[in-house]
Amino acid sequence: MTSVSPEAHAADNCDAILHGREQEAPFFAKVDVVIVGSGSGGAVMARELARDGRSVLVVEEGGHFLPSEYGAMSPSNSIRRLAREAGLAVAVGRGDTPLISVMSGKCVGGSSVLTGGVCFRIPDEILHEWSTDHGLGELTPEKLAPYFEEVERTIHVETVPEAMRSRSSQLFVEGAAAMGVKMKSLRRNTKGCHGQARCNFGCPHGAKMSVDLSFLPDAYAHGAKVISDALVERIDFSMNRATGVRGRFLDGRTGEPRVPFTVQAKVVVVACGSLHTPVLLRRSGMDTAAIGKHLTLHPGFRICGLFDEEVNGWDGAMQSIYSDHFESDGITLVGVYSAVNVLAAGMPGIGKEHRRVAAEMPRMAVFGGMVHDDGGGRVHRWLSREPLVTYRMSARDRARMFKGIQILGTMAFRAGAREVLLPVFGSEPFKTEKELEFLTERPPSAQRVESMAFHPLGSAKMSRDPRGGVVKPTGEAWEADNLIIADGSVLPSSIGVNSQVPVMAMSLKIARGLCDDWARYARRA
């Protein structure tokens, strides 16, 4: 099974999903495996373990929405319902570092519902580094290839046809070509894309094969259940072994935790993503030193070029092209677009000046890029149930970011832009290529750069020995038996490419290992 239509999804899954917000009485369940989080990591685990005959319960803090409902939501409505912190989560910059907007999902399907659908495998050179420098010999390109293949089949990864490129992307290609840079077609997990350029708010056509449309329906078909609106507050341990989770359902009226629930399980899988897995582990009393450290973000940036021609960048795939030409500089260039109101939010000025620039929207192209970064981030537990994320950008990454912005601006001018808007607060539109030289010659404070991140990784990383990380190569925590972590937090370093397929492939590998070794885990329980 690879995917289902949105209608079939809605009809088939009613019984598999329990809405925590509707629960009035305390809830108790006893299962083989409880999985915390239903995103790219948790959904894959759920399918594999359910297929292997285990009773599986997935507990998700966010709500459950049908694909038909994604289309009924405006972008801001979508963000406040599907994203953490109403889409306003940030990594607080330490030192000369931007305040980085960090988008992550909080709904059944997790961040996979909010991605642009871009699919990459982990680059071979990164895997070589992991298998040699990090001593993780199981993570070679050859050994991971079957997992990537299976994930790509399941979520229907396909190359974006050139005809689906928006005019904005075509201008990006033209500008790059003028600099001798070749752009390549991206691969995405889509089936019947209409080119609405609003993948980041949930695909309105159910064409993006996020895990709620691919892995989870298969898990349901094999008996797995999901509870939405259910906040897990701690993992239970007996001696040194995870035995279940406990938490509270969110109240249907206030959204605050209210009715308690407890789930006993032989194995506990934590798949809350890189920002929340460390918080849950700490709240549960774990004290492994590496928890919450080594967070990488792939800080991203975009520029807007204003052209004389009609661009209408909203007509076409939101993301269709990329370039690894600057890979040695740690910069990946990616075609991007977004909803018109989101783009308007990034334009300079107020009142008349903002209106003048915003009215250029039909003639505007957007070019994007991201930095393959060091692990300068940390996830801290603090006042609320959301983490405090801090990030210190290294001097190397800062230079990469400004160089990337300059490259994008230059490409826009080479493609014929008459004005370029940079992601630097308070800057006026630029009118010549030469004006961009300040970015590398006398760069402004990085704190003034508008940056965003979509790939938080590495905050509970995998390691060969207990001092170097949080989990073993099997995904099991060094500190506790029968506690598996299966999300982006286990990746040992930044990967420089979009992370949904890598997270799914890594989870699939961890799940297969768990299934193969189930008797040992069950014996311990």
Binding site: S76, R81, E85, D315, N341, L383, R385, R448
Partner: protein, 151 residues
Amino acid sequence: MAAPLLHQRDFDRTTLRPRHLALMPKLAEAYFAYDGPMDPARLAVFTKEVDRAISTASKTLRFGLVLMLDVIMWSPLFIIGKLSTFEGLSLEDRASYLTRLERSRIVPLALIFVAWKTLLTMVFFEEPEELAVLGYPGPARTRYLTVVSST
């Protein structure tokens, strides 16, 4: 059992207190007015929508957002030397004040400007008439039909 309608499932939490509800229309007008004052009824609806948009965030983030509004409210005293809160300023002075904030060398002040501008702009330019003014034709698309016809 069919799921309840979308808006029925929204949590009915609110964040903005009366002083912020008074400030918000004045702030929005300063950000978006381009040919004179804006319709108060429209600004009232907009204010409610902004409140809904931020109210799904955590307590700490909501606290941070309203703290920023308080800074905007009182800081004209220190930044442009006017003996008035933000909402007491004329539209022209409010716009001028926000421009000063955007260009401020004090980065936290610039970030306050940017944070609220980003949020308000996203909500404001979601209204169909505003989208039309921007030249956005709506959800109809044609490019994918080329792909469909070739397969």
